[in-house]
Symmetry: C2
Subunit: 531 residues, 2 copies
Amino acid sequence: MKTFSIAAALALVLSAPANAQDRDIAKIIDQGLTQSRVMKTAHELVDRIGPRLTNSPGMRRAEAWAINHMRGLGLDDVRQEGFDFGRGWEMVDIEVDMLTPRPIELTAIATAWTPGTNGPVESEIVVAPMRGPEDFAAYRGKLNGKIVLITLPGTGDEPTRPAFRRWENSDFARMDEYRQPTYDPHAIDRRVTRISGPRAIDDFLASEGAVAVVKKSYRDGKLLHGSGYRHRVGDTPKLPHIEIAAEDYRRLARLAKTGDAPRLRIDSRVRWHDEDTNAYNIIGDIRGTDPNAGYVMAGAHFDSWAAGDGAVDNGSGSVVVLEAARILKTMTRPMRTIRFALWGAEEQGLHGSKAYIDRHLARRPIPAEATPDNERTYWGNGYPIEKLAGYDQMKAYFNMDNGSGRFRGIYADNNTAATSLLGKWLGKFRALDAHRVVIREAGGTDHVFMQDIGLPAFQFIQDPLDYGARLHHTNVDTLDHMRPEDLRQAAVVMAGMLWQAANSDETLPPEPLPQQPTVTDPFAYDYPDKD
Amino acid sequence: MKTFSIAAALALVLSAPANAQDRDIAKIIDQGLTQSRVMKTAHELVDRIGPRLTNSPGMRRAEAWAINHMRGLGLDDVRQEGFDFGRGWEMVDIEVDMLTPRPIELTAIATAWTPGTNGPVESEIVVAPMRGPEDFAAYRGKLNGKIVLITLPGTGDEPTRPAFRRWENSDFARMDEYRQPTYDPHAIDRRVTRISGPRAIDDFLASEGAVAVVKKSYRDGKLLHGSGYRHRVGDTPKLPHIEIAAEDYRRLARLAKTGDAPRLRIDSRVRWHDEDTNAYNIIGDIRGTDPNAGYVMAGAHFDSWAAGDGAVDNGSGSVVVLEAARILKTMTRPMRTIRFALWGAEEQGLHGSKAYIDRHLARRPIPAEATPDNERTYWGNGYPIEKLAGYDQMKAYFNMDNGSGRFRGIYADNNTAATSLLGKWLGKFRALDAHRVVIREAGGTDHVFMQDIGLPAFQFIQDPLDYGARLHHTNVDTLDHMRPEDLRQAAVVMAGMLWQAANSDETLPPEPLPQQPTVTDPFAYDYPDKD
């Protein structure tokens, strides 16, 4: 694996012609690598505040901390922008015990935004794997008074890829393959089904008289997640839902298959917080010298799931944004304003960055028949896109949300025209091994909707490390799995990209404002809308 | 990866000249692969009985089950042979909470054979990493009333090897490198230091007024072990000792380093069982037709640690031994007796197989100055070795204790003269990919002391799978991580090796009875004995 050293990076930059821009880059590298505060900031956020489920008390503490932190850095106009989200929820305590055929305490977590048990619930289990309404008939009349296990148990996994890894050159080659845009009007939006699916199951199980719902963790090795999406006011599940570690779940299933159904006792205590149903984005600026030059922006989602401490998802991105702000505050004032955003409610559907778009960037029509479940899908297909006043002000957006791995380059997200300037700016960080521009899209995080409306918004390529293998959304997403050297490098590169974007005469070319879905097959027939 | 199919294996064997021996092998393969009961047996032992810490109630249930199971198979002279071990102990329940700076329940386990807290204990932590007496001075006077964290916290691991893997040909080549025997009179015996080290620390911390002792799990990812060795009557630690998951431990350590020491509440309940301080080996035979031909034997340790269910360590070996017995009971009576042993107390120092040696095979002198801590070390260096009447009766011993991976061959354990016959017998299982004989020693389990006294005792080579990465001694050592196909293959090969060893005119050559330690350097000076 190629590594880098501070001395080599500085030497390379400083050996180049000492023009003003290169001196700036050298200063940013020095600040970010030798005078870093990124791990101290991470410790305050991740260890001391911990998990930040949207609208939970932890998130409220984190929001106050972030505002205070940004003000302490001397950012301008530090503000929070609220948007409708739903209920606040936190786990207080959970204990799940198998009582028969032998007593064991099981490893379990409550599913987010589901009720507690209101005292211990004790019953037999039924293993009733179900995907949705197509499976309900088989279980009707058999679940009354039962604790229902709804996941197919399966068998232990066999992970044959290293848990911790860095990208190889062959990986970058793969990321640099151009894929033509496609559009499938029947594509199923995960944001719809992950609410509607569990709701149908909860309604069915409640009507059948079940007392609690159990799903299996989707990772082996006693890892837990607790993700759930029914956060809207008036959409709270009827039953307590919990997730049990894969090993414990499968043992229950085997015992039920070969003998009397085990008895479980579940005692899950949760607390609701409905004082304020808004979630918030936290935003601060370094005001530029030219008020007509627009702004450049970096962002990361600030919320997390509740199982771990929200360290690499996405404490990492959050503290790198804050560290980039600290570094850039040591520079002279830039030409363009530099904006720093900590997004709320990313985990439940990129709600924070979407709210920023709604308020500042663009509107898309949503038809009257849209429901809260599917209005996002309609939004994504809504034309024409109407620019707001702020649309043309945003000259660049850089996002970080792939764990704590160092930056190896940037995804151009199919914006071919932008690759040249992105490459020029990243070229300053060749010695930090962060210089690659690949054409592939990076989906699933807060730059996506900006890209959808044609703005130059990008996510960095990060070394994967053990993000996917064991950290993403799990109970071991803790600070000891953040890599300090990687985060120092990331903060330098993020600051350096913002600095160049804020001071360059050239700006990143946006894509043409899209005014219809991509046409992929002019001969295709379609069913009438079935939504 | 090369795989095998039942059909291919049978076809290969049956296409060879149909002599009696090959017909026997075919019958064994058919029984073991197509009529296997190995996973059903595993379920009874691992899921229904669960952990089997030596002398715990779980182990007592397992012993009764094993005797019953062997009798059910129709084995002859099923018996248990007791030997002095110490106290019985079991965890009842543990809850460890961080109270400040924010409340979290931590992932923790009690260390085996340490006392509970006798109600909740609540105090500040002190991080006081210590290796032994050389570090005590630094902490004297600072630990009164505290919960003491004694492990160096370190940082998160970066596992760059796949968690689950099978041996490659290059691995076998490495195993087949001959290493000359060595002897270091100053070699430190882990069986001594893992008792004496913790005892010194416990004595020191108790004398300083500490209230509980915390060590860090030695694996990341919320895995727990709970291993402890002070099981002897009269040697129980003074303080409660617990192990905390690495992520939780490091968070505590970081918080203590950067602010007020966190407060913990520990509530650990354990139960002692001193009714019977003997541990037991469970033994059953298939009596041979020739009472003068001696016996061949297979064994596996039956005890486990308490964190998981003792599935791959060593439920696997135990059920394969029982399945081999079942398979061989479908054959005609062999010439030699075939003996099946489930050893007790392997995890605390191979006590069960050592007790079998003491009773049936050989004696070695132990000097008067030996203590309970170090008498095993003296035994290993005690000469002359005195053969008991049973010594020459044991014609072969085969052990299984490396998880649930299929057999890929056998370790000849430096017994060069035995490689030829081992290879001939294993050659019958070429189609099952189990035919390799490598010269290297396989340490750390129950054949070792038999090898030490010159008997032909061997351990099979097994595919590693995820045994070392996450299962060995952990809380995820559960049945879903046993590989059914692998265990069926192992049972066939074990049965086939026993069958051939029991009926062959040739017997495995033992090594010369060793009568002094290996001489490795005739010019070495030595200090006077310092023990």
